[in-house]
């Protein structure tokens, strides 16, 4: 199979044919998919493709493109903050094929009339900074000025308004919307913020078209997506999947679970828990994938201890601006840790407080935590009952769910 054909094979579009550990050069990249396509009709092509953002919120991409295309002197920000600890797919993409991302930046900026673009990368992502810097130095003749900037390595940095504040003044704090970034964004300019994987898909849609894009995935959830698979599987790492395919398919490709499974976290730390019995048949779509992080929790782990560490981390990662988030998440983290020793009152408090914090921040941080906690309480009900009968749990707490600075995955 030729390289180009391999590249267009479903589920190998972004990462197909790439060798691990090295990024491809501009020449190799262009031999694979040809030169970047500059065309304002790209906006309509993206609309026809049904592409949704791959940064977590799954918002309709064409709607965002149109919102800034109608305005004067917009700016494009490519979002590679990837603050989610369980996710590594944006970094993998930037290391493996930075030119595809930059093609997406150039094609998108051209289509919406932006002359300036910023690629925002977490400050700790040194290899990715180097990869993108090298790729940028290779390019000639782009009609867009692209600069690379680092942003703080925090969970909330990827939120659009937090990202813009990080770029403007080095502080990753969300602001109240409206105004939305498309109205008033970076330094007051109408700003389009797109995740780097989304931009890579846009580059391919510009090259191969909407019908090609839709030839992978399902009608409701078209195309492919990168997922970061972690936890108790034989081969952890970044996989490209067709949307609408099952979690079982993905687990098979990873060599299967490495030990008996308790539950699977789908959609990262703002995602949902799925019981082992329901996991293999689950269809992965834009509705449940979030930013594409999936963690398989083994039966040997203490789910309460694992999840409690994540909830505490997320509470600590509050930007500290909104009362319900600061106070509510702190209280939720404390109650969650008490599920171990006094499950009944802790359970009741968690139900009350997750309901109270929803929708009450400037961003969706409290909502994300509430979703994680509520689905945990549903799925881990049997385990919680066991804890209640036996008191403290003796299962392993070795850190399947990673948090920065804390217990790391094996």
């Amino acid at each position: 199979m030729s390289v180009a054909a391999e590249h267009t094979e479903p589920a190998r579009r972004l990462l197909g044919g790439l060798r691990r550990g090295r990024s491809i050069s501009l020449l190799e990249h262009q031999a694979r998919i040809g030169p970047v396509v500059l065309d304002t009709a790209l906006v309509d092509e993206v609309a026809a493709s049904g592409l949704r953002g791959r940064g977590g919120a799954a918002f309709d991409t064409a709607t965002k493109l149109r919102a800034v295309a109608a305005r004067r002197r917009p700016i494009l920000v490519a979002n590679a903050a990837e603050g989610e600890p369980a996710s590594g797919k944006d970094k993998a993409l930037l290391r493996a094929t930075p030119q595809l991302v930059l093609d997406g930046v150039v094609a998108t900026a051209y289509a919406v009339g932006a002359r300036d673009a910023v690629v925002a990368i977490a400050s700790g992502a040194r290899n990715e900074l180097e990869s993108v810097g090298r790729a940028l130095a290779e390019r000639r003749g782009d009609p867009v000025r692209i600069r690379v900037e680092t942003v703080p390595d925090r969970f909330v940095t990827g939120e659009e308004t937090a990202l813009l504040n990080a770029l403007e003044r080095g502080v990753a704090k969300p602001t109240v919307k409206p105004p939305y970034p498309f109205e008033r964004g970076l330094n007051g300019a109408p700003t389009l913020v797109q995740n780097v994987e989304t931009l890579a898909h846009i580059a391919l849609i510009g090259r191969f078209g909407a019908a090609w894009f839709r030839s992978a995935g399902s009608a409701e959830s078209p195309g492919t997506a990168l997922v970061t698979l972690g936890g108790a599987v034989r081969n952890r790492g970044v996989f490209e999947i067709e949307l609408g395919s099952t979690l079982g398919d993905l687990l098979d490709r990873s060599g299967g679970a490495s030990e008996p499974v308790a539950a699977v976290l789908v959609g990262g730390y703002f995602g949902r828990w799925v019981a082992a019995a329901d996991a293999t048949g689950l269809r992965l779509t834009h509705e449940n994938l979030g930013a594409g992080a999936i963690v398989v929790l083994p039966a040997s782990a203490c789910g309460v201890a694992e999840a409690a560490r994540v909830v505490r981390y997320l509470a600590d990662e509050s930007a500290g601006q909104c009362g319900p988030c600061v106070n509510g998440l702190r209280a939720i983290a404390t109650a969650f840790a008490e599920l171990d020793t006094s499950p009944a009152p802790a359970h009741a408090r968690l139900e009350r407080w997750t309901a109270q914090v929803r929708g009450r921040g400037a961003c969706r941080h409290p909502d994300g935590v509430a979703g994680f906690v509520e689905s945990f309480l549903d799925v881990f009900e049997p385990e919680l009952a066991r804890h209640a009968r036996r008191g403290r749990c003796a299962a392993s707490t070795r850190g399947w769910l990673t948090v920065p600075g804390g217990a790391r995955g094996r």
């Binding site: 109240v176 909104c322 921040g361």
Partner: protein, 72 residues
């Protein structure tokens, strides 16, 4: 007629003084930490003056109408 007005709170500006809940208990309650929870039920004309008063009295200017009345 036809204005569906509700209140909204700017959660960054709000410091949890709680005056709004005292002045406008028909639509504002407080969470377990003293921050306002707004009832999204539209506010009838008879209650608009109470709502306006709560907005004016907020020491952090964190309370506002969520949609302006229609231009007449």
């Amino acid at each position: 007629m036809g204005d569906e007005r509700t209140l909204r709170v700017d959660p960054i500006a709000c410091d949890g003084h709680g005056l709004c809940a005292e002045l406008f208990p028909e639509r504002v309650s407080l969470d377990d930490w003293g921050y306002p929870i707004i009832d999204p039920t539209p506010i009838p004309g008879a209650l608009e003056r109470v709502g306006s008063r709560a907005i004016r009295q907020c020491p952090k200017r964190a309370l506002a109408w969520s949609n302006r009345p229609r231009a007449r």
